[in-house]
Symmetry: C2
Subunit: 310 residues, 2 copies
């Protein structure tokens, strides 16, 4: 059974409405929103990433799923792989405390397991949030005609990873985006009344937009020249199409991607301005299927790789 | 930071009442009960255990935590390690479907991650249950003077593991106890009104009784001759103290250990009889600290190893 078949099988099992067909960032049980993500050494973080950063990332990527559902995090359950490296454990605990305090989230429970020597570290987290009284926007709610928006800028974390790997000279903004992603919790909550659909950009703008379009049964067109890039990224990369495609496929952005009726544009801009977050329209939804890319009024081919998978 | 220090640090972080000081089997958030357990190949299951059995065990050990809190399971979130072994994935999915259906539990969500080749398989699960209207018995509620009870029999799974390893001739009962643990959900719910404290016996009767006594700030005395052993176990082991100590330290029983006022004994026996489950008083709680063992009216030394740790 291939991975796609395995996931299809899980979807067939997950018939409860709370599961949202396993096609969303989180499950919705009454007024609670629940998400579970695992991060594995060598896959989601580098073996020599700092343990405080790993703890931060573990919590932040899960809180980002709650942010995408407009939910307010209340607590987490941790699955921790103990290794013999006592300093690593101490640093991880410090990082965990720091990220939980930063976002006002409780540690509810979990377990520690000892893994065989030499096995990669693996950590799992379940985050529990309280839904907004205005609802829980699905990934699948995009309607043809919607504007597609993204928060902040994309690509910083991808460049930060290249910096971490010594491929290019580092700058603080991009490194921080890789090391300490910031879940957009306040923004997510504020956007709930204005959006038809929302998700976080965890694996890359293009792959996540494609997922959102497919989940919604519509097509989506993105304008590459509109994709927001940071000054820090443009300080180390030329502003050419390849840079934009790299930024839109790099992943680890943890920005919010959302779809809204064009009539909501003023309210959305106002929401962003009130929170000091740039919100940028990057495309629109139409009838049809899948993703179409436009650059300076020309259709361009989709890159072979739309983003990070696992 | 040693494991004990690490856990102490997590406890210091987990100040929210929902966490129950990380000293219980589960967290309690409103009327929901939440638990998270990870199982690792080579630690919690054998590399050649059948994937259907591994799926069963992953779900059953988590549901057992809910059973110990008298909660009714509603759904789970799965963290799945994908490997290249497609047949394994298919068998795991079949086992998952079967155990979820058996206990009427929904798959709410989760994630799949690809692990580097050669890494041990590791699976995590968060199980969510609905609390009984009569409350959620804590591990820490034992009162001096309470009777201590255990459900069913202990030691079958430990003998089943020895059978799986080819150390002794197999019998179906003990093998099944190892391969397909049965969370005592109906019993747990029925016991809620009668108990002061309850937990499941996952790591061994002695270690779990010791944990319960310590969490409750009291002492506990167990009578080894009262520890219930199955006919299937006694068919392959002589009924001597060493057998009883082995059974009480082997773990993987997933029976319920509970403390109740002696005045509840008749109601408890009636509850067990109604469900066709043997419930056996195995000791009592007193003032003091930790565990005391008695065998045929003689105090005996605690074994060096009280049960399974990780």
């Amino acid at each position: 059974m291939s991975e796609a078949d395995f996931i299809a099988r899980l979807r067939a099992i997950a018939t409860d409405p709370a599961a949202r067909g396993l096609a969303d960032d989180a499950a919705v049980l009454g007024d609670l929103v629940l998400t579970h993500d695992t991060i594995v050494e060598g896959v989601h973080f580098l073996p020599d990433d700092g343990p405080q950063d790993v703890a931060w990332k573990l919590v932040a990527v899960n809180l980002s799923d709650l942010a995408a559902k407009g939910a307010t995090p209340v607590g987490v359950l941790l699955g921790y792989s103990l290794t013999g490296d006592e300093n690593w454990n101490a640093e991880f605990a410090a990082g965990l405390e720091s990220v939980l305090r930063r976002y006002g989230v409780a540690l509810f429970g979990g377990d520690t397991v000892r893994v065989p020597g030499g096995a990669p570290r693996s950590f799992s987290l379940t985050a529990i949030g309280r839904a907004s009284p205005d609802g829980v926007p699905a990934r699948s709610g995009v309607r043809p005609g919607d504007q597609i928006w993204v928060s902040g800028t994309v690509g910083n974390a991808g460049v930060g990873l290249a910096m971490r790997l010594g491929e290019i000279d580092p700058n603080e903004t991009c490194l921080a985006a890789y090391r300490r992603p910031q879940p957009q919790l306040t923004l997510g909550r504020a956007l709930v009344p204005h959006v038809h659909a929302m998700m976080d950009v965890s694996d890359g703008l293009l792959i996540d937009a494609d997922r959102m379009a497919r989940a919604s049964g519509c097509g989506m067109t993105l304008m590459m020249e509109a994709v927001p890039l940071s000054a820090a990224l443009l300080a180390v990369r030329p502003d050419v199409l390849d840079t934009r495609l790299a930024a839109a496929t790099a992943g680890d952005d943890y920005q919010l991607l959302f779809a809204a009726d064009p009539g909501q544009a003023a309210a959305i801009r106002e929401t962003g301005a009130g929170l000091g977050v740039a919100l940028t329209p990057v495309g629109h939804a139409g009838v049809g299927e899948g993703l179409t890319l436009i650059h300076k009024a020309q259709r361009i081919a989709l890159p072979e790789r739309l983003g990070f998978t696992h």
